[in-house]
């Protein structure tokens, strides 16, 4: 048995569109190689529209046109057998859905059918994979709702009768009630107040630890990554630019974009403006040459304009795609020394 549950190799997934005879290609995932281990929480951060949702849509085997896998593989090692998303059949994907692999979409309310009561949606999703019926099924669902601090009466409600935060917890409930091996979540707690957010994050981690499952989640909230993730990966313009253990990413980043991201987090008490990045976000239809960050990078040198920096090991378990990683200075001073 290996340590890894998912191996992504040279993945390219593009949106290919044709507008009135004009071909347009958005290279949302452009050559990503990464592995997700068993029993870990992996956080993904990055700029808006850098391709995070696109990447995890592929991981979740939820690929719909105009998106297409152009190259690479996405290999899972599930308990019921291996699966490569790039070549898997519909039936194969169906057989792992919810029980082995579950996906909480961004703006997740869309999985909730507006004219179906929450209880019915739970039955649609969970009854068959759980293999339970009658009282046993009901008890399992109620117990799960209770852990999510949701009242049982909610099963009779329609989605529009719930607040945004309640709906978000419902979708987390749907995604975890079958105890899957691999949970993928896109902004799972953005609609929650900070008190409930903390509880829900704690709950996701508790379920993850109980099950020894793997969780990959995307959020813009760097403080959530700081407290949830074992490892953090940073996406910029369709590429993984840095990846490493959480604490190192915050206090010893090895890529200038990560250093910027970590420092741009405002705190209560801040009234001064945080430094913003110069220039506009890159276009994924026509990305910059060489290092895609070069037009906005404070450390850029000539080489950066023409040569693509490879994602190399720079420290223990820590990879960076920057020619000048040794010169990157953290913009936030650590409160405590970095633990090796």
């Amino acid at each position: 048995m290996t340590q890894d549950l998912l191996e992504v190799d040279g993945l390219k997934a593009y949106y290919q569109m044709n507008y009135f005879g004009v071909e347009r290609e958005v290279r949302a995932v452009d050559d990503i190689t990464m592995t997700i281990r068993k029993n870990e929480i992996y956080g993904i951060a990055g700029e808006s529209s850098s391709g995070k949702t696109s990447l995890i849509r592929v991981l979740a085997a939820a690929i719909r046109p105009p998106m297409r896998i152009v190259a690479g593989s996405v290999k899972y090692d599930f308990k019921n057998g291996p699966m490569d998303v790039a070549t898997a059949s519909e039936a194969q994907i169906e057989s792992v859905r919810w029980k082995h692999l579950s996906y909480i979409m961004q703006g997740s309310m869309s999985v909730l059918n507006p004219v179906r009561r929450i209880g019915k949606t739970f039955e649609d999703f969970a009854k068959r994979p759980l293999g339970l019926s009658g009282e046993a099924y009901r008890a399992r669902v109620l117990n799960h709702l209770e852990r999510l601090k949701l009242p049982a009466s909610l099963l009779n409600a329609y989605p529009h009768e719930l607040s945004g935060g309640m709906r978000q917890r419902v979708t987390i409930g749907l995604a975890t009630v079958c105890h899957p091996e691999f949970v993928i979540a896109d902004e799972p707690t953005t609609a929650l107040d900070v008190v409930v957010q903390k509880e829900v994050l704690g709950l996701i981690r508790e379920i993850q630890q109980d099950m020894g499952s793997s969780v990959v989640f995307v959020t813009h909230d760097m403080s959530v990554h700081a407290n949830m993730a074992d490892r953090v990966g940073i996406i910029y313009a369709g590429r993984l630019v840095e990846e490493g253990p959480t604490r190192q990413m915050f206090y010893a980043p090895k890529h200038p974009y990560t250093a910027h991201l970590v420092a741009s987090l405002p705190r209560i008490g801040d009234t001064a403006q945080r430094p913003a990045l110069e220039g506009r976000p890159p276009s994924l239809a026509n990305p910059p040459s060489g290092c895609r960050f070069h037009p906005r990078c404070p450390l850029a040198i000539d080489k950066c304009k023409t040569e693509v920096p490879p994602l190399n090991n720079v420290a223990n378990d820590h990879r960076s795609a920057c020619w000048r990683w040794e010169d990157v200075k953290p913009l936030v001073a650590p409160q405590q020394p970095v633990m090796a």
């Binding site: 951060a45 719930l162 813009h220 008490g269 913003a276």
Partner: protein, 307 residues
């Protein structure tokens, strides 16, 4: 001093469930606040998930009718039935930005068509050049452009792009009041600051008032003039944003501040809430109470016994 918006003792009860399991929810209970016309401000609402923030916003927008109390805009009642013309005028003046951009847009309609219908409806523009100009102007304010958006459907945009497009749409009629329900929850920190700065410049440079609903205490601190904190349908604390956030008094406000995750302990995995604090915040809500004023100008909900 004239008032722009006056919310007086407003409540909203929802009845839900079927015939057998009917029950009602007091989504908003006895909320009062007012914004002045002379001093545009950013008025922030923070609070528990499900505490009635969106419901209060929807009542201000005239999308939901209060079960009790009154809301008026520039002295005119919003909560009463009004003529079509009056309603259109009101809607041009009070524009919404909703919580979930994926829900705000019709998935089957191109983004620019949606913006275009707003421009036609509220600005009464007919020439395509004028319409395009109004759309592009609004999109530029949020860091997008008409060229980028044209012909694209909501699912073809990222969450952040969509949220910026939603703000641009609201800016088209040049409204004096914007009601923004979690406008920055789906964008990266850099963009978050630029949108928040945009709201601030709308206030400072164009005299637009903003009702800003958020879960993010840091941006609330950064831009708001005043704020209210809501718990279970009730306002539990109201006052100058920095006074309240620097030193919250109500147990729920304190719990809220204490629950904000920090990066200081990055990697340590601290997700525990102080159970004593949580119990205190929740126990207080069971008891009757009322808002009391404090010397520093804030209002705090105090339980009858504890006064």
């Amino acid at each position: 001093m004239t008032t722009l918006l006056d919310v007086r003792n407003v409540s909203k009860r929802f009845t839900m469930g079927g015939l057998l399991s009917r029950r009602s929810v007091e989504a908003v209970q006895d909320a009062s606040l007012s914004l002045s016309s002379e001093r545009p401000e950013i008025f922030t609402i923070i609070g528990e998930s499900g505490s009635g923030k969106t419901t209060l916003a929807r009542m201000i927008l005239g999308l939901e009718r209060p079960s009790g109390g009154e809301i008026s805009f520039r002295g005119k009642m919003v909560s009463q039935r009004v003529s079509r013309q009056e309603r259109l005028e009101f809607m041009a003046n009070v524009q919404p930005v909703f919580q979930n951009p994926f829900e705000a847009f019709n998935p089957l309609k191109e983004i620019d068509r949606y913006l275009e219908s707003t421009a036609k409806r509220f600005l009464k523009l007919h020439r395509q050049d004028d319409i395009d100009g109004a759309m592009d102007g609004a999109l530029q304010k949020v860091g997008l452009s008409l060229a980028e958006v044209k012909g694209r459907y909501p699912h073809e945009m990222s969450g952040g792009q969509l949220q910026r497009a939603a703000i641009a749409r609201a800016l088209i009629p040049n409204p004096p009041l914007l009601v923004a329900d979690e406008p920055v929850s789906m964008v990266d920190a850099s963009l978050r600051m630029s949108i928040v700065n945009l709201l601030r410049s709308l206030r400072d440079d164009f005299g637009v008032s903003v009702v800003y609903i958020t879960h993010d205490l840091a941006t609330a601190y950064y831009i708001s003039n005043r704020l209210i904190i809501m718990q279970r349908g009730r306002i539990v604390e109201m006052g100058d944003a920095r006074t309240v956030l620097d030193n919250p008094e109500h147990p729920y406000s304190r719990l809220l501040k204490a629950s904000v995750l920090s990066t200081e302990d990055a990697g340590a995995g601290k997700l525990m809430t102080d159970p004593g604090m949580a119990a205190l915040a929740s126990e207080r809500m069971e008891r009757p109470g009322s808002l009391q004023s404090r010397p520093d100008g804030r209002l705090v909900r105090v339980c009858e016994e504890a006064r």
